[in-house]
Every structure is written in C-alpha cells, then in structure tokens.
Amino acid sequence: MPLLEARGVNVVYEPNRGQRIWSVRDVDVTLEQGEFVGLVGESGCGKSTLGFALTRMLRPPARLSGGVIRFDGTDIATLDGEQLRRQRRNGFALVLQSGMNALNPVRSVARHFGDILKAHARPGDDLSAAGVRRRGTELLESVRLDAAVLTRFPHELSGGMRQRVSIALALALQPRMIVFDEPTTALDVIVQQAVMETIKDLQRERGFTAILISHDLGVVLDATDRVMVMYAGRIVEDQPAGVMTRGLHHPYTEALLDCYGDPRADEVRLGGIPGTPPDLSLPNAGCSFAPRCPLAEEICLTTDPPLSPLEEGRAACHVRAREEEAINVG
C-alpha cells in the first residue's frame, strides 16, 4: 500500500468576502514508502499550498475543499483536533521555508526538543532533563550539529544552523514522511549545498518519504528520485528525475529547463516564458498553460488535458499525448 494516496485535492483561498482563489485544483498524489519526490513550479503555482494541504497545515483564509488524503490507510482530510495532532508522531512532518523564523526566540534549543518529546510522550519515554538532552544530542548529530547547540538560543545560531535544528526537530517525531518547503531558499549557495547534502543523507539512512518543494529545478533534479511539475494549481508532469534532462516533456517543463544556463559555458541561451500565469480566481476552460504555449492547438483551449503517459511518467498535454500514442502505435 502506498504511504500517501491523495485524490482530488482542492484548496480554495478566500481572502475577502466573495473572493475565491483556487490555488490547488484537482490534484492526485501517490507516494510509496521511501520515495524522494520533488515538487517544482514558479511562485504562486500552488506547490507550497499543496505541501501544507498534505500535512493538514492549511490556515484560514485557505481551506481544503474536497479530496481524500489517505496516509497509511487513514483519511487524514477528515481528522481534526487531538486525532490530527497524534498523527504527527510517527506520521508526517513539515519543515518550513524560513528555518530562520521557525524557532521560538525565547526558548533554547534544548527546550524545543523537550516540548516536542513531551507533546508526544509514550509510556517508557525518558523525559527527564538528561533524557531530553540525550535525545537532543542524538538528533543534532544526525544533522551534523554539535551538542553545544542545545543550550543556545535561536538568535545565536546562523541561518543554516537554524534550518538544521528545524530538521532535527522534525526528525524527533520519527516521521514516515517529511515535507520540505523550500528548505534552502533563504540560504546562500554554499550553505544550501551543505544542507541539501544532509537532507539527502538523512533520507537515505532513515528511509522516510520526502517531498522537496522548490522553485529551483536544479536542486530538485540533484536530490530527488522523482519530479512533479506544477503549474496554476495543477500537476502538469510527473517523471523520474533522470528522465527530466532528456526526451520530450510538457511544454512548460521544457520552458523551465530552458531558463537555466551553465555559468561556465561560452555561449548561453536563456529562454523565458512570455505572458503571465492565469488568474486563479477564474474557473478555467481548457489547459491553463495554453495561452503561453508555443504548441497550443484548438483542443488545448477548450478541454483540460488529463495526465497521460509520456516518456517514463505522465504529463498533462494534448499534443504530447498524441505524439506518445503515435510512437507507441507506430
């Protein structure tokens, strides 16, 4: 059984009376235990929202409207309160984008660990100060931090260190799935590399399912086994990571890939995507990327393309679907 099976996830965002913005539209996600999946897209495409939805962290004015989210067989979309809180132990965890501000400024790192361990205490857990310190040291070591960090306060740590502490705290719950929401976006490139290495090693060692949300395709391709591309609230492509740099893809994915240039090449071609993303407060007819797509046809403007096989995964594109069929038939 897959660890996570989400069907028909819809998230609507209602900032003022009468205003509705559909930030996630009809998304299906299936994750097996131990998979490392990347979720890419530009700002505003809904990837963070989806990550929050899957971990039941949506807050008003955003809400989950419809859909089933089966985590290890249990539909967590219908859970609330204490039941939901319990799911977070040995269940799913979320690491935030700004590890910078994810820590309580007036509590030491040791107290952070204590708070989490006590919130999910099971009989037999050693929750004495010494016990918490022991557990904390273990967890800090796994993210390559020294035990001395335990007595520090968040403002005494650098950005990268704070992000590692956040990861360590998430690990304290021994989750089977962790969603990393832009974990390295706010860090400089070198620290980014180090933190990503740590995340990759942890995922390999402990085998938890990981979702890496990022707008940086390079980071995602490097770390993950499988990549999902989001556009305007929908998943438009889903491929193994290795396949992404070759072959045919959804026109949006290809445009994204085009946006990256090798800084050491002699001649660099930078692409761009003309136009702007669609207005998510309007229902759409047809493919949401069609207005900006170089391959758009009649059918693209009227019918929403379903996810159909492409290369070793799937993509939501009429043109590519037709081409793929032609290859298979022929």
């Binding site: 962290m57 820590l103 007036v106 919130a119 403002h155 956040s166 998430a170 304290a172």
Partner: protein
Amino acid sequence: MRYILRKVVLFVLTLWAAITLVFILPRLMPGSPVDAALGKLASAGVPITNAERAAVQAQLGAPHTSLFVQYGDYLRSIATLRFGTSYSFPSQTVALTIGKALPWTVVLVGATTVFAFVIGTLLGVYAGWRRGRLADSSVTIGATFFGAFPPFWLGLLLLYWLSFKYGWFPIKGGYSPGLTPKWSLSFLGNALDHSVLPALTLAITTLSGWVFGMRNNMINTLGEDYITFAEANGLRSRTVALLYAARNALLPNVTSFGLVLGAVVGGSVLVEGVYSYPGVGNLLYIAVTNHDFPLMQALFLVITLSMLVAIFIVDLFYVRLDPRVRSTA
C-alpha cells in the same frame, strides 16, 4: 550588558530632562506665581521667613536673578527636599505633606497596576488566541466600553451605589476618621476596606489598555512561522498558546509598560480626588482647587520621578524575559 547600560543612561538623561522641564514650566507662564504664592502663604498665617521665600522662589522663579543661578538653587532645593510650605497645609512643609501621602498612592497604584496587568494580559491572550470568535468579540467590546469610562465618573457612580446607597463600603478617606495610622492589623483592615472602591475604579478603567495591547501582540505573533512550525510538530494547543505565542507577545507589552502606567497614575489623581483618598493624587486635586503652586510643582516632580523609577525597574526586568538582549549581539 550593553542593554542595561543604555537603559541606565536613558534613565539618567530622562530624569534630568524631567527635572529641567519642571523647572522651566512656571517660569514660562504669564503672571508671577511667586508673589501669588507668597501672598497666599501670608494670609494662611505662615511666617514668610527668608528660608521660606527662598524655597518658594527656587521652585517658582526668582525675579531679577539669572536663570543659571535659579537652576542651581532649584537643583539644590530638590536635593535637600526644601520645597517650602504649602498653604493648603500650612502646618507642615510640602516635603512632609507629600511624604505622608506617597505611601498611600504607591500601595494603591502599585497593587492596582499589578492586578490590572495580570488580568488584562490574560484576557488579551484569550481574546487573541480565540480571535474572531465570540470570546474575542465579547472581550474586545467589553474592554472598549469599560476603558472609555472616565475614572472620576466611575468613581462617583460606584461611590453612589455601593457606598452611599447600600453602605457596603465606606464613603471617603483612607481610613475611618478618628483613627491614627499605625501598623496594627485592625488599622490595616480598616485601610483595606477603604481602598477597595478606589482600587476597583482604577483597575476597571485601566484594564483595557493591557487587554488591547496584548490582543494585538498575540494576533501579530500568531502569524509568525515558529507558531506554524510548532503546530506542525504537533505541540498541544495550550503549549503553543502560552509558551510560544503569549510568551513572545508579552515582550512588547512590557516595553510599553510606561505608557499604561501613565494612564494609571493620571487616573489615580481623579479617583483619589473623588474618594478623598489620602494619596498624592488627592493632594494634587486639593492643590489645583486652591491654586497652591508650590504644592503642585513639588507633586508633579514627585509623580514624574516615581514613574520614571518604576519604568526603569521594569526595563531592567525585561532582560530576564528576552534572551536576545542578554547577549551583546
């Protein structure tokens, strides 16, 4: 350490500035308060000795003397507590009059502030946490309404209903007439009885300041990422509300302690007047009604300085609350 040093320097500077302001005020005003004051003293039967004249002039202004000399005299008179005699209380010096009244006000204002701070903060936490729901609305509307009560009005009404009509509490004063203040249990009990209404009046009218401040801080704090992260890690609601949200939201409240204290002190002037409670506020009330300038000056000085000291103490206490100011970062 740097934080404490800064606070000490600020305290000393503000102290100096306040003293100087009190020095400047009567000398800017039209007319000659000195002659008026001396005249009134004379008619109250107070002998106008040289010392007396000197004291009054030091406070209110000596004609034909350079400002620098006046300033020196002024500072000296403060240091030696020679404020002269007040004609509202001709039998004792201003310093003594204020000295007798000060403890009453310190106890009243002190106890009320602590009480209002605690209750107000808790209500604010509650309203901020349950934002948008009935609990929040009722607390907010209630605090708005009660916070708009002029302290003297509420005092009068409580006096009328609870004291005059139903006789639950004594009508005026700090203690029953005929008793002499002393440290005995019966006296203290009597004093307590007399202080309930003034304290209640002050507490009700100043509560809202704390409630709103805390509520707004809570709402802002609840938008922070560490709250989201704590919830994502499955911490219990109560832990998040108190140890993560309220504990951080408290900080700006402490720094703005001075502002609300000012309101309490101001309110105490009006409330003590209404109840004839023998504190500093009541003295100010009497001084104003009698145009007793020497007394007013000295009172204003004492009130301002007391407030500055209280704020300074709270500022020092802040170090215990916020680890970010502890390091020299």
